[in-house]
Assembly symmetry: C2
Homo-oligomer: 339 residues x 2
Amino acid sequence: MKLLITGGAGFVGTRLAQALLARGTLAGRRIETLVLADQVAPRAELLADPRVKARTGALLAQCAALRDEPFDGVFHLASAVSGECEADFELGLRSNLDSTRALFDALRATVQHGAPVPRLVFSSSVAVFGPDAAVPLPPRVADDTLPAPQTSYGTHKLMCEYLLADYSRKGFIDGRAARLMTVTVRPGRPNGAASSFFSGIIREPLAGDEAVCPVSANVCHPVASPARTVEGLIAVYEASREAFHGRLAMNLPALNVCVGQMLDALEEVAGRAVRERVRFESDERIAGIVANWPKAADAARAARLGLKPDGSFTDIVRQYIADCEAAPDGAAALKGLAR
Amino acid sequence: MKLLITGGAGFVGTRLAQALLARGTLAGRRIETLVLADQVAPRAELLADPRVKARTGALLAQCAALRDEPFDGVFHLASAVSGECEADFELGLRSNLDSTRALFDALRATVQHGAPVPRLVFSSSVAVFGPDAAVPLPPRVADDTLPAPQTSYGTHKLMCEYLLADYSRKGFIDGRAARLMTVTVRPGRPNGAASSFFSGIIREPLAGDEAVCPVSANVCHPVASPARTVEGLIAVYEASREAFHGRLAMNLPALNVCVGQMLDALEEVAGRAVRERVRFESDERIAGIVANWPKAADAARAARLGLKPDGSFTDIVRQYIADCEAAPDGAAALKGLAR
């Protein structure tokens, strides 16, 4: 089979590509070709796999060519992040709405030219949910909580969920939307996401650097490890259409934690000195965005697919450390850790 | 003030234009200019009013010019109807999604060039609601029922509700979405809407013609008269932003009736012979679409704006007859009515 991952050189996309290549099959079929489309090239070790092809450039510009190239399956992860979309409204529209529409239309064109209907997993987000004065958020947002996004990012993700449902109803794609929780711990540098600090307050102290936490310790949030997130995307791909019961969007499992619990877990795994590298300094812009996010999430439908949240935040911290230890360039990421 | 009505030569648009011109003011301001944009020219009697300007052509093509023309207020009614969108997927995307986006972007451009933020009422639809196996529809859909559109028409309306909320949040428009119930009795010829028969089974017998009802007498549906619909659009325009409590979409009031009750009302007003011109002949395509629509609707938030549904379906039939009697060319529409 021939697969496409958009955002295939990104953090989740790279992990997903590694997992798929290691499995070798998806939904019972052998993976012959894995196309990684992204604005930047994939990692060298992925490119070294003969099954991998890279397509580098803006997704929107790539979609015209995709009209003549059928795929058996697609993971659509490419996205501008929430902070970027708040700062640049047109970038958000282009990257998250227009590109998704263009991708769906390219796949529709292949089907209308006789290709089999491709299966597509769209990475939506817990950011589709938000409070409003008319309908307060429940303590835990559920699969069927009424969405009310409070960011352009969440708005576009939600619009694309509905677009996906309509293209699927018409038989142009076999679409499913998985609402990702905030993925943590992300390696590397902070990105433009307002949620970036949920990784930063663990990652920077482990690297020996100071970290600023822009919200208070009692801010709670649904998170998931990279491994659980990739597992969720694959399970949503492999699920039967019937498992969706006509509603194609579902929450992925969340570990519901507060910032203070995250830091307690960091201390438990890495020691008090590491934790003390985190300094609280309120940032009104970030705190304002985060205040409008769900404090916790439920994922009843994902549970019926056998998916489980991470067991604890200490598990997540340990997973991050193990990943760094396994990476060729991972030592620098752990130089704050006393051995 | 300068107002724009898109779809301003359509059935609801024409009625709205007449109502606004008769009032002379909106939200306490004098209406100086009323631009009616539509694919066809407005009625001659509207064009005769010196305040009225017509813009004829596809809305999407008109939007580039609108970037340089600020408006104080907009009623965005232009839309392809449900049956058209099911038959021609690209027409639906273009007419209902791309045109709305282009209109919002044109208004955003005027604001970014210094114009005051325009107020905009978007005509959404009860078609945003639909059943799914995971979350059955409640007996009456409410303002905060989770939407699950089962048509492209309803999908695009819902996507535009969320787009409107985001443009409003960013301060590019002061948007509000009024979910119209099925407007009946529409004069003229059947249109491509799957709901067209809800007018046809009243209009054709009154004109002396046979009518086919494609669904059974026990099919129930939320409807509203043209007068109540126009009243609702104006009230939503005039409401304070605070009345929306952060959620910008609301149902307009519905009279919840079944087809059998509609025909009973027709008989009560016009006699048995008129009713007997309606023949039941099941149409699977129409019945399939209608089966996925709400059977009834609530409009608690519109009620708080003082809006009320029609009192009864006999009121609606009488209103239609009175409208025909008042129209210069209305006699033909009532030639089935014994006097």
